[in-house]
């Protein structure tokens, strides 16, 4: 090091090239790394998007030519749209039920000391830790043994079950970071318990609940393994794609997948813009 500094003056040209590379790397390593990560993340999506324009005849595995037909007629392939509608309905209902139940459990766990509290805390983690295959097959066995016909409702019960865990964990984290003195301050300022909850606790926990709901929806919408065990004739979008893979996935599936990606992206961007606006205003 000491040599570097003393000779640095004498021979700046010789050292500068290596230094420049190092300095450039120092300044840009993060960006390069980020670029690589993004390519890695987005390449499959780009591929899906590209093949939604494939003029595929029977199978969408090889590039056959460019067409807008798939986008103009996304319900062209049999059952595609029905499965999407099924998935959306299921997802919304599961989100609603799991979010409400999970939030209530989270409040109970954080706010109250009761017998079996720590056990509950532990049991809540089980569905997250258990392999989905095991969960799915066990549920199937349960449903068969108590003679519940498989279909929409069995899938829903299964989804609510594992979504609740994620909701509880998410809401609990938010609640635990909430200062109980805020509620006390509200009550000191003449707010009843209910008012303190509605005006102070709920707004402050709401972001956590919203995040939990989004998580529940995407988990439900995404799930294939557990669904496949317990759905009987009922078809969700992931199941549709899986089943049709044997015959060849229709390009309409790519259209729907791409569309979903862009809708999600748009929602995130809109959310960010609103957030920035609100902070400024």
């Amino acid at each position: 090091m000491s040599v570097d500094t003393s000779t640095g003056q004498a021979a700046p040209e010789r050292l500068s090239a290596g230094r420049r590379v190092r300095r450039w790397l120092g300044a840009n390593a993060l960006r390069v790394y980020m670029g690589i990560a993004f390519v890695y993340l987005l390449l499959p999506v780009a591929y899906t998007f590209l093949f939604s324009f494939n003029d595929a005849g029977r199978t969408n595995l090889t590039w056959q030519g460019f067409t807008f037909d798939n986008w103009l007629n996304p319900c062209g392939a049999p059952q595609v749209c029905q499965s999407v509608v099924n998935s959306l309905t299921l997802g919304l209902l599961v989100t609603l039920v799991a979010t409400i139940l999970g939030t209530l459990i989270a409040f109970a766990l954080v706010r109250y000391r009761f017998r079996g509290r720590s056990t509950t805390n532990l049991l809540i983690f089980l569905p997250m830790a258990t392999p989905e295959v095991v969960l799915g097959s066990s549920l199937l066995a349960l449903f068969l043994n108590i003679f519940v016909p498989l279909g929409f409702w069995t899938v829903m019960i299964a989804h609510v079950m594992f979504c609740i865990s994620f909701v509880v964990v998410t809401v609990k984290a938010r609640l635990a970071s909430l200062d109980p003195r805020l509620e006390q301050a509200a009550m000191d300022l003449y707010a009843s318990e209910a008012q303190a909850f509605r005006r102070i606790t709920l707004p402050l926990v709401a972001p956590g609940i919203a995040a939990a709901a989004l998580l529940a929806f995407s988990l439900s919408f995404d799930d294939f393994i557990i669904t496949n065990f317990n759905s009987g004739q009922f078809t969700t979008f992931p199941k549709f794609v899986y089943v049709s893979a044997t015959r060849g996935i229709p390009p309409q599936a790519n259209v729907i997948a791409s569309a979903m990606f862009f809708i999600a992206l748009a929602l995130v961007v809109i959310g960010q813009v609103i957030g920035v606006r609100r902070r400024k205003g």
């Binding site: 003449y190 009843s192 402050l204």
Partner: protein, 390 residues
Amino acid sequence: MARATDVTKAQGDLYLERLTKSFGDFVAVDDLSLTVPQGSFFALLGPSGCGKTTTLRMVAGLEDPTAGRIKIGEADITELKPFRRPVNTVFQNYALFPHMDIYENVAFGLRRRGIKDVKTQVMEALELIELAQVAKRKPAQLSGGQQQRVALARAIVNRPAVLLLDEPLGALDLKLRRQMQLELKRIQTEVGLTFIHVTHDQEEAMTMADTVAVMNKGVIEQLGAPTDLYESPKTAFVANFLGQSNLFPAAVLEVDGEDIVLEDSDGRYRMPMNRVAPSVSPTRGGRVLVGVRPEKIHIERLAESDATPADGNYVDGTVRSSSFMGVSTQYEVATAGGEIISVFAQNLSARDLLSEGDPVRLTWAPRHGFVLNGSEDMNAGVEAVTAAAG
């Protein structure tokens, strides 16, 4: 609009009767009784962890007392929910609502009670704390001192019968602190609210309060007007916690009419009986602590006054150190008997300054000393003051 909460209209003096609060085995507030007259400014002073906040929380209804009653006038509010009590709190950690702007924070109490002209009152309160310009900001966008003032405004705007202030000025700089002290005092006298003001700052307590209670380990050591507390401390803790005191052990020699005569290795001291704390039993040979404030002691060079002073107590010693502090000079004097006594001498003339090693005589008027129970720890409250200052 949400329906208004019916807050009790209770008015009158605040009574805490034999109030106790335990957390498990730990007794945070121990059998505490006190009366705060309506419209008075009451300061609760004490070291960290002595139970000040816990006491306030019980008055506010945020903590259930383990035993005891709380009353405002005739009304027993012990069982009342916090939102039905005519009591507001300025929280030690502010507890501002992070998702509401400053205006809404201050308006919160008014809205809950269904008050009509929220806007005028809120803006008035914000003017008072000089923060009207930040009404639209969120609490996180304010400095600590500004947040503290908002917490103050949020409580004061409700004009409660009793206002609890838990170190409401702790985060302010000296100038703002003085200013807010005056404001607080003004509001309190103008509106006639009862203030209970918790503070670490003894100066603040003494300048603002009608009555000061010194609290230690869950009990009130002494309660009274600031001058009474300062001039006649009843315990070593109070003597050390409020200002500075010289305390040194002595033994009772006799009670001579109105006076008590004490003795230690440096000599004899005579003090009026009314300067003796009630916990002292004035029997011959009884151990006591003699106390005298540093500024009450007169110090002079020994050579100039060889005659024994007729009236007054005196001790001879040598100056061990002196520190010049502008208005006064602080001397540490070592007595023959091995005590270290500190003295504040007014700087009348630079020529009078004494230096290290000078033989000196310390004298003080009998009515300026005080006598405490000898079984007490001489240093009680000293660490507490250092901790509070640090």
